[in-house]
């Protein structure tokens, strides 16, 4: 059985006339790095909220279908029961940190779960090191940069040792360099710790290279799903309004002009550069 299985899920917020999610079915395997993208308002955030039961428990509303995460029926469990399995990281780092020191924030989840002090100490230190914020652990949230704040937010869900981390546009408040650092942290967690990652992003330029499972949403439904190299070279993807990586676009233009760069669609400038060098490097 897949780590996450969603079957025919539809959901309507209370008071809304149209469903925000419409007949979504989805399977995510353990250890995957999944990228979800799509135009604004297409239901990405709403889908993220389904993974740990914020939808429907916190938001109420009307839900149909099945959501199973780590073998647990999410619709029947409390959000706090899911916290050990799914960690959600939100867009605005500022509103996710509520303690007066970084360390205390990272420990917040474990404190709620009633972990012993020794256990907490060990996990908190490990997490702080994993996310590269060990040296600033005693500072308060307003003394650190937005990028560091977002790393604290990641650390604070990571401390509970979830199987899955879901990040909803974690870098939209950050500059490209800090964003890249965040992506590297996430990628490392995925590769080294085997944590399944679900990342919602508009900036495919920076993130497409990490994924092997891309999901394109539009109007509350999944429109395209699969290998990013196929999907990003698909005309339909561009029409939905997905920001195709520059390297991919350039590759397509060059290909149309008759340049032969091989069959592999590049997802990052590095890949494109390699292909160019391979094809035309030797004079």
């Amino acid at each position: 059985m897949a780590l996450i299985e969603i079957k025919n899920l539809s959901y309507t917020y209370p008071g809304a006339s149209n469903p925000s999610i419409h007949d979504v079915s989805l399977k995510i395997e353990k250890g995957e790095f999944v990228l979800i993208t799509g135009p604004s308002g297409c239901g990405k955030t709403t889908l993220c909220r389904c993974f740990n039961g914020l939808v429907p428990h916190f938001y109420q509303g009307e839900i149909k279908g099945e959501v199973t995460v780590s073998g647990i029926n999410v619709l029947e469990k409390h959000t706090y029961d899911m916290a050990k399995h799914v960690g959600l990281v939100f867009q605005n780092p500022e509103n996710q940190l509520f303690a007066l020191s970084i360390e205390k924030d990272v420990a917040f989840g474990l404190e709620n779960l009633g972990a012993s002090r020794e256990e907490m100490r060990k996990k908190v230190d490990w997490t702080l090191k994993q996310t590269g914020i060990y040296d600033i652990r005693e500072r308060s949230p307003h003394e650190i940069s937005g990028g560091q704040q977002q790393r604290v937010a990641i650390a604070s869900v990571l401390a509970m040792e979830p199987d899955i981390i879901v990040l909803d546009e974690p870098t939209s408040f950050l500059d490209p360099l800090s964003a890249e650092k965040i992506f590297e942290v996430i990628y490392r967690l995925n590769k080294e710790q085997g944590i399944t990652v679900i990342l919602v992003e508009h900036r495919l330029d920076l993130t497409a290279k990490y994924t092997d499972h891309l999901i394109v949403m539009d109007k509350g439904a999944i429109r395209l799903e699969g290998d990013p190299r196929d999907i990003l070279s698909n005309e339909e993807t561009r029409l939905i309004g997905v920001g195709i990586p520059k390297a991919t676009l350039l590759y397509q233009m060059l290909k149309k002009e008759g340049f032969n760069l091989g069959d592999k669609t590049p997802l990052s400038s590095d890949e494109l550069a390699d292909q160019l060098l391979e094809a035309y490097g030797q004079r």
């Binding site: 909220r49 706090y80 916290a83 509103n95 509520f98 007066l100």
Partner: protein, 262 residues
């Protein structure tokens, strides 16, 4: 943003800052009790002086002076009221004793302010929050306290941003009579409230996602433990209380005037 810097707390370390806030609070209460027991200058002056070492060891002289200066106005007010009422109630006469008692009343007020300001100047909010968490206070209250401390500077900064934005659109805040001025602030308040509500929703969502309410018996990363300094302070508290009671019951305290043979 210099106006709001005062709202942001900073971690400071000193032997006084590191004391257990609970014991420090007991100390404040003890000074309170002692100050209320006495009505004459000498013991109150002693109480005043006794707290100065705390100020200097904690290296908060500057902030302390500022808070005392803030209290000076109120102190002067208390002094004048005291003198005036005495003057009238005693039949338009004025004695050295009256002045002395008025001074003592003022001094009592100053001692109260002083002990409070020493407490708050040397106790960081996170320490205070921790003390709340580990006393019998329900965790929700302790949490509300720390989140308030955390978000007050954020909201203050946001208020400033909204004010600037509205001013840029031609809102004149400092114009008109009092009612008009209050009304002027509505375009600032509404966006501020809306954004605060949105913030609190996001906060609630983040808390839920981090297992808020998972377990009846919440644990804590930090433990407040009493150290040597705390025991010394505790001993000091007992000494002050015993000495104060002793003087209060057995010793008739001389007035300052009596030294001058008045």
């Amino acid at each position: 943003m210099s106006v709001f810097d005062g709202l942001k707390f900073r971690k400071v370390s000193s032997p006084i800052h590191n004391l257990d806030p609970r014991i420090k609070f007991v100390y404040v209460i003890c000074i309170f009790v002692a100050a209320i027991m006495f009505k004459s200058i000498i013991p109150l002056a002693a109480l005043f002086v006794m707290q100065l070492p705390f100020v200097f060891v904690a290296k908060v002289q500057k902030q302390w002076l500022r808070s005392m200066r803030g209290a000076a106005f109120l102190a002067a007010f208390i002094f004048i009221i005291n003198i005036v009422t005495r003057f009238f109630s005693a039949g338009y006469v004025f004695t050295a004793f009256d002045i002395e008692e008025a001074t003592a009343m003022t001094l009592r007020f100053i001692v109260l302010v002083e002990s409070f300001s020493v407490f708050f100047l040397t106790t960081s909010p996170d320490h205070l929050g921790l003390a709340l968490e580990q006393s019998k206070v329900p965790f929700e209250f302790a949490f509300a306290f720390t989140t308030a401390v955390r978000f007050v500077p954020v909201l203050a900064e946001e208020a400033q941003t909204i004010m600037d934005a509205q001013k840029a659109r031609g809102l004149e805040l400092e114009k008109g009579n009092l009612m008009k001025r209050i009304r002027n602030y509505i375009p600032v308040l509404i966006p501020l409230i809306v954004s605060a509500i949105r913030r609190s929703l996001e906060l609630a969502e983040a808390m839920e996602s981090r297992a808020w309410g998972a377990c009846k018996k919440r644990t804590n990363l930090y433990a407040l433990k009493l150290h040597r300094g705390d025991y010394i302070l505790l001993a000091l508290i007992i000494v002050i209380l015993v000495a104060a009671s002793y003087f209060f019951v057995f010793v008739s305290i001389p007035t300052v005037a009596s030294f001058f043979g008045l």
